[in-house]
């Protein structure tokens, strides 16, 4: 019946890549991801290697992006930093995605009192200023990376739950769900086989836009000195170090900042592009 139509995925991919900005953003993110994954194999130096005799040196053929005040190679530090920044961004998004999708689907599908109570909880949680609680968490329990992205992920699921719920509410009144129910398909199968796959479009869009938000939050905390701890580095820490010594050593600020901004820019563009691709009606 549908065999001669291109699949939704392929159609969306086609539309996404036809937008030149999203296309370049995809390539950029892909390259950054690959570099981050294979960093231990290709990094020019060890990430803790200090050349104190050299000290801070501007970009040269030995150190393509220069070295920091302790003589550490900036390119290497940025490559290792990208691993942490991206990991926090993606893992926290996954945490948010799982909680949000489950919560929203159950609320939207079961409806009635359950829905009212579940969404009431979301409303109340929305009111809590989480940035302050996250800072408190970091202060009190030390700067634990796992805790950091768990906490961030546990905060970011709220909007996800709302989006999924409204999607599911619309879907669950449609004929194919009624038909499945009438045929006696178990509720859990309806949720996983029919509801979630059909509600996934806006969720993917929102998840893509959540990644840069979380990376921003991590950078923000690291910048204040409340995030990732030395000797580990993240883009936020590199930017802070760069800001401290920018008067004499501009490259320490400029290169991490450019990379980080470009990453945020690309992720946002992919999110926007995906929204247009998955839902042609929405325009921009």
């Amino acid at each position: 019946m549908e065999s001669n139509q291109p699949s939704l995925f392929r159609e969306a991919l086609g539309r996404l890549t036809s937008n030149r900005l999203s296309f370049f953003s995809c390539i950029y993110i892909f390259v950054i991801l690959v570099i981050a994954i294979i960093t231990p194999l290709i990094a020019p130096y060890d990430y803790a290697f200090q050349d104190l005799n050299l000290g801070p040196a501007p970009p040269s053929s030995d150190h393509l992006l220069g070295t920091d005040t302790l003589g550490r190679d900036l390119l290497t530090r940025m490559m290792y930093g990208s691993r942490i920044s991206l990991m926090v961004g993606f893992l926290a998004t996954v945490v948010a995605l799982v909680i949000g999708v489950m919560w929203g689907t159950i609320a939207g599908f079961v409806g009635g009192k359950t829905d009212a109570i579940m969404m009431r909880i979301v409303d109340v949680l929305y009111g809590i200023p989480f940035i302050i609680l996250i800072i408190l968490l970091m202060v009190i329990f030390g700067r634990n990376l796992i805790l950091l992205f768990m906490a961030i992920g546990a905060v970011e699921w709220l909007t996800m739950a709302r989006i999924v719920r409204s999607q599911v509410m619309g879907l669950s009144k449609q004929e194919f769900i009624l038909a499945a129910e009438a045929m006696g398909v178990r509720k859990i199968n309806i949720i996983f086989r029919h509801l979630i796959p059909n509600a996934i479009g806006p969720v993917i869009v929102y998840a893509t836009l959540t990644v840069p938000q979380i990376m921003l939050l991590e950078a923000f905390l690291s910048f204040l000195g409340l995030g990732v701890q030395a000797p580990l580095s993240s883009w936020g820490i590199l930017i802070r170090d760069g800001a401290v010594s920018m008067e004499e050593y501009w490259w320490l600020l400029v290169f991490p900042s450019l990379t980080f901004s470009l990453t945020l820019f690309s992720l946002n563009f992919i999110g926007d592009g995906l929204r247009d691709a998955l839902d042609p009606r929405s325009g921009s």
Partner: protein
């Protein structure tokens, strides 16, 4: 209208109570007491200190005492600066942070709303693309990058503006305001454009044009009222973001505001100060959310239920 305010207040109070309880418990479950600092104190002194700050009482008693104090606006003494109370410290920092936030939001509204209107009036032209792409850039360049870059460019290389302080030198408020406000200007621009585009297609705008009203009147008096609803709904969350952003901006520019006190207290493990300012910040954020809901409802009758 009053019903709406009451309804929102009814949700705000449990949220506040939850925040107070949560922060209180978190701070009290923290490993290490406030007096484990540099110099080890003898057990007798420690006992006296604990007695002085009521730390030897059972937890629920400390909690109820604290809650009672907070209701009266008393957050107790600062552990770090024992001669000053937390309330006093908050009150020194608050006016400065508030001034910074107000400047930033005014900057954001002026720039963002005009860019958004321009984009909506001439959609899909250069008047639309240029401001909207710039807005995208503004959202993506976070304050931790924008602040240092502005200092580097205008403070160090061009030497046009001072790079630190607040009210000490003429012009030292400009860079912090821009740093804090840019991202919100960008959001305002996008929201205004979206809201205006929706409104401008509606019948009552066609009627207004058909009546022969000037374009200025159509846009500013008729369309803007509806078109700005998303921006106003955004102002509450934006205010929350601005307060959080003040942590970074005040640290970068060395502004003696509430945000900087908060970060310092976090580093010094000044528990009463962290607790007090967390609660205070939460109250502020919750009130701003309430306020923006009420304003949005008074502009858009559909939201009044």
């Amino acid at each position: 209208m009053i019903e709406l305010i009451l309804k929102r207040l009814a949700t705000a109070i449990p949220v506040l109570l939850a925040v107070v309880t949560l922060t209180f418990l978190m701070v009290h479950s923290a490993p290490g007491g406030p007096f484990d600092a540099e110099k080890a104190v003898t057990p007798e002194v420690l006992a006296k200190l604990n007695a002085k700050y009521n730390l030897d009482a059972p937890l629920w008693e400390q909690y109820s005492d604290y809650l009672f104090g907070v209701v009266q606006g008393d957050f107790g003494p600062s552990f770090r600066y024992p001669s000053r109370s937390v309330t006093e410290l908050i009150m020194t920092g608050l006016p400065i942070t508030f001034e910074l936030a107000v400047y930033a939001i005014l900057f954001a509204l002026m720039l963002g709303v005009s860019a958004g209107i321009l984009g909506a009036l001439k959609p899909n032209t250069a008047y639309d693309y240029v401001p909207m792409t710039t807005a995208m850039l503004g959202i993506c360049v976070p304050s931790i990058i924008l602040g240092p870059s502005l200092i580097l460019t205008f403070g160090i290389w061009l030497e046009w503006l001072p790079v630190g302080g607040w009210g000490d030198m003429p012009g030292d408020k400009i860079l912090p305001t821009i740093t804090l406000g840019t991202a919100y200007a960008a959001y305002c621009a996008r929201l205004t454009r979206g809201g205006m585009l929706e409104v401008l297609n509606q019948d009552f705008i066609r009627t207004a044009r058909a009546k022969g009203l000037s374009e200025f009147r159509v846009v500013v008096v008729h369309a803007l009222r509806g078109g700005l609803t998303p921006v106003i709904a955004f102002l509450g969350p934006a205010m929350a973001g601005l307060l959080a952003g003040s942590f970074v901006v005040e640290t970068i520019f060395g502004i003696p505001g509430l945000g900087r006190f908060y970060v310092e207290a976090a580093f010094n493990r000044d528990y009463t100060m962290i607790l007090g300012s967390s609660i205070f910040f939460s109250c502020l954020i919750i009130s701003f959310n309430l306020l923006s809901d009420v304003i949005a409802a008074s502009i858009n009758p559909k939201l009044r239920q």
